[in-house]
């Protein structure tokens, strides 16, 4: 018994040492970078704004993970593919032809709304199909089983869409009215980035209100709390789950449109890393919580964007921007070790974590 306690202590000490080492390294790097001061204030602002825009995208995608995890306790590994499928399809069938005919530049608002609607529809379709075929028959199966089908679904969709549209990168057309920069509060910002941030905020607030205020939202929250009891209360749990997937996929679709506006290209593999990053964001903010996903997304975006220059450059790491992903994944590991409930999450019960 005493030996056992000692072991945990040693492990605890190792973990504490690990945590301290990371914090010291971060501080050291930050101080060294700031002393050196290689970038202008404008460069920092640009980096932070880009980080916020990127973070807004992560937040929108993270919603899907958080909602599904909240209800089904499963990591929907294929969620990144919901994000990819919609914008791939609407880029090829809607955006490019509309841009070639000049419609998109003449009516950018209506054009973008049509693109967004088609994107959401396709994303939702892919999500519902995946849910029906790969997840629904596995309700009540051990937790790892749906995770493995989700991995399978992810690869299936990636290569399915590669077969459909080809493996090359497709350019998303430039829309004149959102090209270039604008100035808000004295900060120069790309118009597309501003659009991303504004749309993300509206969508996140709208979704949160939907889940809190409406009856459908209530049924989702009830299903998340306890499926059996929800069923006894007359709630159609399967319908609630389908709606959960629908909402997550719709948000992923919107994120896809915004992604295409900022990065101006789409690709069959584009969903994979944003998907994993968004999952990280959801965990960071506290999985199961919508404000948590928003906060986690923002934090992750900013860290990823500022981190390489701020923490790593001062440590003398060559070309630190290559290590953006390392920062994101290290954040995931740190959060899971030291605060698995996330920033805004409640402590998950043993059965959930």
């Amino acid at each position: 018994m005493s030996e056992r306690i000692k072991q945990i202590d040693i492990l605890g000490v190792v973990m504490w040492f690990f945590r301290a080492a990371i914090i010291v390294a971060m501080l050291w790097g930050t101080i060294a970078t700031l002393m050196d001061n290689p970038y202008s204030a404008k460069a920092w602002t640009d980096t932070i704004v880009a980080g916020i825009a990127q973070g807004s995208l992560y937040a929108l995608i993270a919603i899907g993970y958080t909602l599904v995890y909240g209800v089904l306790f499963m990591i929907n590994f294929a969620h990144g593919e919901f994000f990819m499928s919609g914008i791939m399809t609407s880029t090829i069938f809607i955006a490019i032809p509309m841009s070639e005919s000049g419609y998109l530049d003449a009516n950018p608002v209506l054009g973008l709304i049509i693109i967004a609607l088609v994107t959401m529809l396709v994303s939702i379709g892919v999500a519902i199909l995946t849910e029906r075929v790969a997840y629904k028959p596995l309700r009540g199966a051990p937790r790892l089983v749906p995770l493995i089908t989700a991995i399978g679904a992810s690869f299936f969709w990636q290569y399915y869409f590669r077969g459909l549209y080809g493996s090359e990168v497709k350019p998303f057309p430039l829309i004149d009215s959102i090209a270039g920069k604008m100035t808000i509060f004295g900060i120069e910002i790309l118009k597309s980035q501003a659009l991303v941030i504004v749309v993300a905020i509206i969508m996140l607030i709208g979704l949160n209100l939907f889940v809190i205020k409406t009856k459908v939202g209530k049924s989702i929250r009830a299903a998340a709390e306890n499926k059996d009891v929800a069923r006894l209360m007359g709630i159609d749990v399967d319908r609630a789950i389908t709606i959960t997937f629908t909402m997550g996929a719709a948000m992923a679709g919107i994120a896809g449109v915004l992604y295409a506006l900022v990065f101006r290209q789409v690709h069959y593999f584009m969903g994979f890393f944003p998907g994993i990053k968004a999952f990280t964001a959801a965990v960071l903010g506290g999985i199961g919580s919508i404000p948590g996903a928003a906060l986690g997304g923002l934090l992750l975006g900013v860290f990823e964007s500022v981190g390489p220059a701020l923490f790593l450059e001062g440590l003398g790491v060559p070309s630190p921007h290559q290590l953006k992903d390392v920062i994101a994944f290290t954040m995931l590991v740190l959060v899971l070790i030291f605060r698995p409930q996330g920033i805004l999450g409640e402590r998950l019960a043993e059965e959930k974590a």
Partner: protein
């Protein structure tokens, strides 16, 4: 259980089959396989895949249906086939009348040509409809036949298709063994001669027929043998197996041995991941990290290029260092995740795998690991002064590794530690309450898994003579995971089966290369839905799953 079938059922089933075929068509799967002719002048692999879906749907729909006369199920099959052709016919009309190709990369005139049998749109569509309908009716008809006729028939067709599919490989073997003349007689170009195909069908069907009648008798005779004789027989069988394994390269020839070596490396990794996922129930998606570490250690220690340390390491002395480094990293990466369970563990390990890969690509370690250019000029292993250059020679290195790994894995499974792993897999909390040291048990699982993977990586580096960070991506982790799931989680023979199916077959069927990951995805889903215990499940698990309906993967 007989069911009556409504018209609505028939049409909806036909349409589902039709949509599946349509999907296969638009992603270019069928056109690609259409280039692979199976029997000269008759049909291609594309035709087989095209018509397989409606045939399967027709077969399973009519198998258990009520009927007064045989015409009814055959008619149902006919209608299902005809309906399932409609989406593809619409596609053909769309393709010829609009410019679909600017949207869908694989909807091309070649597809139309293939779907209409080169007979023009109208006549071709009619032929396609008839082809689907007749073949589906045939499938229904076969479903009605007596088992005695059905079994030999299906076996015969399966053999013909199998031999024709692998003709490319068989052709090389036959040509090298029996000479060009024999090869030319059997295969025209790379496709099977129709007469030979008929011959193969007759032989396979005949043997099956004979076995169906006499096989039971032989089994009874065998069961009647005395235990001693049985023991002798099984000894003889293992002896034959050993000799075959020992001389396999001679049997297979250079190309197939190379394929076998690749399969062997995946078997090594599979055996390791099987310990982590199958025995201990820890889903590790970053398994490729240890493979990379093994490979890089081997590369850095032995490379004769600019990046080699040149401190006198040979393959054999670097091998233990690579394995030990992998074990060390297994423990280092294992410690932070000790408290995590299930899906969180999966994502974090995936993150670790990516971190290792990104670090290897980045400029941070460019001086030692070569960045994106990787490490070149790694020497092949040397054995008593002989440099093992040929795949036939390298086979024995891989074989040695695999045999060692199988031995260790089997012994571990039956050891105290193995039982602890399985107890942990079933329920961590209960295992801990029983006084088990979870920390040590988990770390042992990670370390052992990492050791196998590191060994595989080291052999891989030496076999390839150059390594690039891009060969250590997530896809490898997924491949290994898929192969142990297909074989049967926790089953050692399952790893062999899984590696042969998922790594060996695609190497032989290079037509599939582009769709390999798509097929893996489907396979993962289908296995989890219908056969979660895998093709060769572990004995213990089989017993478990026969007593209750629980799916066999660890719950945690």
């Amino acid at each position: 259980m007989n069911k009556s079938i409504t018209i609505k059922d028939i049409i909806s089933k036909g349409l589902i089959a039709g949509v599946v075929i349509l999907s296969l068509n638009v992603i270019g799967f069928i056109t690609l396989l259409g280039e692979r002719e199976l029997i000269t002048g008759w049909f291609s692999l594309g035709h087989v895949f095209l018509v397989a879906t409606p045939m399967a749907v027709a077969y399973f729909t009519t198998k258990n249906m009520d009927y007064e006369s045989k015409a009814k199920p055959i008619g149902v099959g006919f209608v299902i086939g005809a309906v399932s052709a409609i989406p593809s016919i619409i596609l053909v009309f769309l393709e010829t009348n609009t410019d679909l190709r600017q949207f869908l990369a694989n909807v091309s005139p070649a597809l139309t040509e293939f779907l209409t049998f080169g007979q023009g749109v109208v006549a071709g569509s009619f032929i396609l409809l008839l082809f689907f309908a007749v073949m589906s009716a045939l499938a229904s008809f076969v479903g009605l036949l007596d088992k005695k006729i059905q079994h030999p028939l299906v076996t015969g067709v399966a053999w013909v298709l199998g031999i024709a599919t692998f003709s490319e490989v068989l052709l090389i073997r036959i040509r090298d063994t029996f000479g060009r003349g024999v090869a030319k007689f059997i295969f025209e170009g790379e496709t099977l001669n129709p007469i030979i195909a008929l011959f193969i069908f007759l032989v396979a069907a005949g043997i099956t027929l004979w076995w169906d009648q006499k096989g039971d008798g032989i089994k009874v005779t065998f069961a009647g043998f005395s235990p001693q004789k049985k023991k002798q027989l099984s000894k003889g069988r293992s002896l034959i197996l050993m000799v075959v394994i020992l001389f396999l390269p001679l049997l297979l020839g250079s190309y197939l041995t190379e394929v076998t070596n690749n399969v062997g490396i995946y078997i090594l990794m599979g055996l390791g991941l099987n310990i982590v996922v199958g025995f201990a129930g820890l889903l590790d998606l970053g398994y490729v990290a240890f493979f990379a570490i093994g490979a890089y250690v081997m590369g850095v220690l032995t490379s004769e290029g600019a990046l080699g340390l040149d401190i006198g390491f040979t393959f054999w002395t670097a091998l233990p260092v690579a394995v030990l480094t992998a074990i060390l990293f297994g423990i280092i990466l294992g410690v932070p995740v000790l408290g995590m369970r299930g899906d969180y563990l999966a994502i974090v390990t995936l993150g670790f795998g990516e971190i290792i890969r990104v670090l290897a690509v980045s400029d941070v370690f460019k001086g030692t690991l070569g960045g994106a250019q990787g490490i070149l000029q790694i020497p092949k292993p040397e054995f008593f002064g002989i440099r093992l250059v040929q795949p036939e020679q390298l086979y024995y290195v891989v074989l040695g590794g695999v045999l060692l790994a199988v031995f260790i894995a089997t012994r571990l499974r039956d050891s105290r530690l193995g039982r602890q792993w399985m107890a942990m897999r079933e329920d961590e909390d209960v295992a801990e309450a029983m006084g088990m040291n979870l920390v040590a048990t988990k770390l042992m699982a990670f370390a052992t898994g990492a050791a196998f993977s590191g060994l595989a990586g080291a052999i891989f580096a030496s076999k390839l003579t150059s390594i690039f960070p891009h060969s250590f991506n997530l896809i490898i982790s997924i491949n290994v995971l898929a192969l142990i799931i297909v074989g049967g989680v926790g089953s050692i023979p399952g790893v062999f089966a899984g590696a042969l199916i998922l790594v060996g077959l695609p190497e032989l069927l290079r037509e599939f290369a582009e769709f390999r990951m798509l097929i893996y995805g489907v396979l993962l889903i289908v296995m989890m839905l219908y056969k979660p215990e895998g093709f060769l499940p572990d004995e213990r698990r089989k017993r478990e799953s026969s007593t209750d309906e629980e799916l066999s993967l660890a719950e945690n």
